[in-house]
């Protein structure tokens, strides 16, 4: 290793040739807030120096263009892209993103440590530098059956083995501020590391208690007042522009010359369509600039700031000794990259991605493929009516367009042969959650409103956060068809008629992701949406909506494999009132 520094110092002195030179660009300096026209010399994947006259075997002329450090997405779940790290990397590096702080929370809930190891191994081959954070809340709580249980000991081992950079968003915020032993043990194990937070609307002394444990960031602020209080109490604010969650407009007004050193950007969850159309974390940067923020400040918030929060002194700026993560922008309004260099490698070359996709092995490692393990003998979508009555009042999950909170509604259904059936004419469908990790063989069935299917069914193995098999249908038969079809894919999303698959998207990796190209995934996703629409669904995105109907830590009425959950009471309730 000293020999590598030796070469780097020789390149810096101008006595050895750099691997690559970005010449004549307008270099953004995140330390001074200014620009400088000079050449950047790259060697060994690092920046050797900045001077007017470096020359190398490959020199890219950046005359008239602006060079910034590579962007850093401060918080993202790669699983939400439905693609594995290689394809995710290709999509976001083309946007100028060179580092992401990734929480493998979804795959960890299915595959446990094997899921984290899988993401780590796949991340070794990507041009994007993917820094994994240890998923802190597996499972989310006791009202569900997830595929794994990661306690403080296991998480600490992940850190000692170098697989994770810090602790990912501590979502169980009531557990933390109330001093829950399991939460505190996990936090205690990461006291010397970066700990990300997740504390929607937490304030006052409860916020004090949450932060007293060493948590240091939040990406859940939705109002300026909330963000200002959290900033004042020491949290880095990660402004999020996800697929559903769009917080920039509310939070941009708080940014001032004093506090902006503590503000970053993140995407959290973005589906393929948004990644390919709007972009990744470049999207909030572009929107912030369009909203009037000084481009230097906006780009600093996406580079130096997250580098500082995560203690990564090796990136986030164009300076000697730092990683050669560089973006040559055509201009700072469109924020369209012409060249992107990631770790010294040109990954976008005059607007084109130069590489063929990396070859991905067809077989998945143990524990990550074949994750749909269902005991079909126990699968039964019938709901029994109380004995001897002609009708019964049932609790119905009231789904709301573009929200993940639901309403708890009541409906009266007629009993047929002692059972209660879906009533598509009033948009009362059945929803079921089937444990699919081969652990308990549990399942629960209830009723739901808002999806609008006149017939047929939808099913999927993405169901936050436990990712059991969720099914919504107009009849028990259609639900059987959909559930079986999703399982036969060994994970995925399907839309079916009573007996036929109308559209599907296989997600063989943990039932969450695929190795297929992202553009293909986008097409499949559109086909699924179209099929649901043809069945009568009027929702903007029923597939994503379905995936949140099992998230029992978000109000008000949800369903897990263990039963219908009244989130406000944080306990199970019967379907029949």
């Amino acid at each position: 290793m000293p020999s590598s520094l030796k070469h780097l110092t020789a390149v810096a002195r101008g006595e050895a040739a750099p691997d690559l030179v970005l010449a004549n660009g307008r270099i953004l300096n995140v330390f001074t807030g200014g620009f400088e026209e000079a050449n950047v010399a790259v060697a060994n994947g690092l920046i050797a120096g900045i001077a007017p006259d470096y020359q190398g075997p490959r020199t890219i002329d950046c005359k008239g263009l602006t060079i910034s450090p590579g962007l850093i997405d401060a918080h993202v779940h790669i699983e939400s892209s439905l693609c594995t790290p290689g394809e995710f990397s290709r999509a976001v590096t083309a946007r100028g993103v060179t580092t992401v702080m990734a929480d493998p929370h979804e795959i960890a809930n299915v595959c446990g440590v094997q899921g984290v190891v899988f993401m780590h191994e796949r991340s070794q081959a990507t041009d994007l530098d993917i820094k994994l954070m240890a998923p802190s809340c597996v499972p989310a709580c006791h009202l569900e059956t997830s595929g794994a249980d990661l306690d403080a000991v296991v998480l600490q081992e992940l850190h000692e083995e170098g697989l994770v950079h810090g602790l990912a968003e501590m979502m169980n915020y009531p557990g933390v501020f109330l001093g829950d032993d399991r939460c505190l043990a996990i936090l205690e194990a990461f006291q010397e590391e970066v700990i990300d937070g997740h504390a929607p609307r937490l304030s006052g002394k409860e916020l004090n208690a949450y932060l007293a444990t060493g948590i240091g960031s939040d990406h859940e602020c939705t109002t300026a007042d909330e963000a200002l209080e959290k900033l004042a109490r020491g949290m880095y604010i990660l402004i999020r522009e996800g697929t559903i969650t769009r917080d920039l407009d509310a939070l941009l007004p708080i940014v001032d010359e004093y506090n902006r050193r503590r503000i970053c950007f993140c995407t959290d969850d973005r589906i393929p369509d948004d990644l390919l159309t709007e972009g990744s974390v470049d999207f909030p940067v572009r929107r912030a600039i369009a909203g009037g923020l000084d481009p230097v400040a906006a780009l600093t918030m996406a580079t130096l700031n997250p580098a500082e929060w995560f203690g990564m002194r090796d990136r986030g700026a164009i300076a000697p000794g730092r990683r050669a993560d560089l973006v040559v922008w055509r201009d700072l309004e469109s924020l369209e990259p012409a060249w992107v260099v990631a770790g010294g490698k040109v990954v976008l070359d005059d607007g084109k991605v130069p590489d063929a996709p990396d070859p991905v092995s067809a077989t998945l490692p143990d524990g990550v493929g074949g994750t749909v393990r269902i005991d079909w003998g126990g699968v039964d979508f019938s709901v029994t009516a109380p004995a001897g009555v002609g009708e019964a009042t049932v609790r119905v999950i009231g789904s709301i367009e573009n929200q993940i909170v639901t309403e708890a509604r009541h409906f009266t259904l007629r009993a047929t042969d002692g059972g209660l059936e879906a009533d598509p004419s009033r948009d009362v469908l059945k929803i079921a959650m089937i444990e699919r990790h081969g652990r308990k063989g549990t399942m629960a069935t209830g009723f739901i409103q808002g999806f609008g299917l006149k017939s047929g069914a939808m099913a999927g193995t993405i169901a936050h956060d436990h990712h059991n098999l969720v099914v919504i249908g107009a009849s028990d038969a259609a639900m059987h068809t959909a559930a079986r079809a999703a399982a036969e894919l060994q994970g995925g999303i399907v839309v079916t008629s009573e007996s036929q698959v109308l559209a599907n998207m296989p997600l063989p990796v943990a039932g969450l992701m695929t190795d297929a190209p992202m553009a293909q995934v986008r097409e499949q996703y559109r086909e699924l949406q179209a099929a649901a629409s043809n069945l009568g669904c009027r929702m903007h995105d029923p597939l994503m909506a379905m995936s949140f109907m099992g998230l029992e830590v978000i109000p008000s009425l949800k369903i897990t494999d263990l039963g219908l959950v009244d989130v406000d009471r944080f306990d199970f309730v019967p379907v029949v009132v």
Copy 2:
């Protein structure tokens, strides 16, 4: 440990009593740049929370006063205070300093690892949080005999044992930018840690090469242009106000709203008189405010900024979960502290230091006491004249008031019995450097001008950076008296007549420090200065000047135990031309 977090969260929630409350103060918020009137609750040495109504068994009313985080001195050699860590701690915590980043470079040059261990152990008992950095340049170079040799392996062990936070100032800057193997091996060992720099006047590609190795700060800037270039290349700038080196006036004009997040303050070297009269790192903060810098910015530069540079997320701000390092200032102009809390303990109470000095054990551990080991048989201050001549031209070190650079002068001296003697009438004195580590028994004698002694001599065991025994005298006999007297103290500084000690200061700890109270040390220092003045010396501080006459990495002519050094040629030269 979870139980400690559990208590902290209970205090934060208001459900358990804090140990201490600072009530009704105007709390400076380094994140927002604003102030907030509220109560700060302290428990387990940490800040539990900030809210209007916390109450505790001890509540300090701070009405009308301003509370800031405790100050951080970003770079200091405690040895320059001539006092051991306990006494240093008492002096600087009374000024509002609660953390120092200390480079034990001087004691390491005498005692090696045992010196670092000693500083570490003594630091465990201080209220001040002393973070040691690994001394990177022991010895400074090959033209001297120091007491130890710390290579990359040894330094890495110090880090693995948890004794050091990072790597202290890498002073051999030519070695670094030229790719010297020893320097690179040391830097390589600390790539994951904070590495402080020291690169006076380095610029352009040489600066690029220096920084490509991962070095990230500089405290040697003396001009605005130098500081601006280093800032732009990614260095944190530590503005220094030492006893001799006073850089604030030159550097304050560069501070702007964009770059100030990367600027800190430090003291580097301060003698007791300055520490007790002017203060520690509070001194540059006070001067910066007097010079027109926004007090919030100035205090942020002395708190949050160094905490960020050194990756210490646990301090530098008043926020839940951070160390309870708090200063209650009477006002932000005088910057006079009324109360100081360090790690939750009140160390200044309404302007008074509440504690008696800690008891210090009389015996010093192995290797730190008894460090003056001289073979007196080899000590001889005579300088032989060339055979058969009546006079000879000699090289004379030209000492310059208040500078550590010297001039190389020539003088002609008459030969007496084949020897060359000092000539006090023309202020040509003798200077000798005697190896005192018991390693080689080497010594060298030369001539020096500028000290003005008409008779007598001075000697001391502080001689940067090797800390051999330095003697300056008007006659060989007086030099013997002084050298013997300093050695009999087992280290220290003496001023003598031909045969009598006129004043002395014992420095039994490595010949560099004493356990005596700092006020007493200041008195002894003044007595030494008065005694030198009575002998004819007109220098402001001849004792400190003497200590730099052996520092052969600073131009132009210096002396080590191995001979007279022409620094420009970086080699030895004979005394007689």
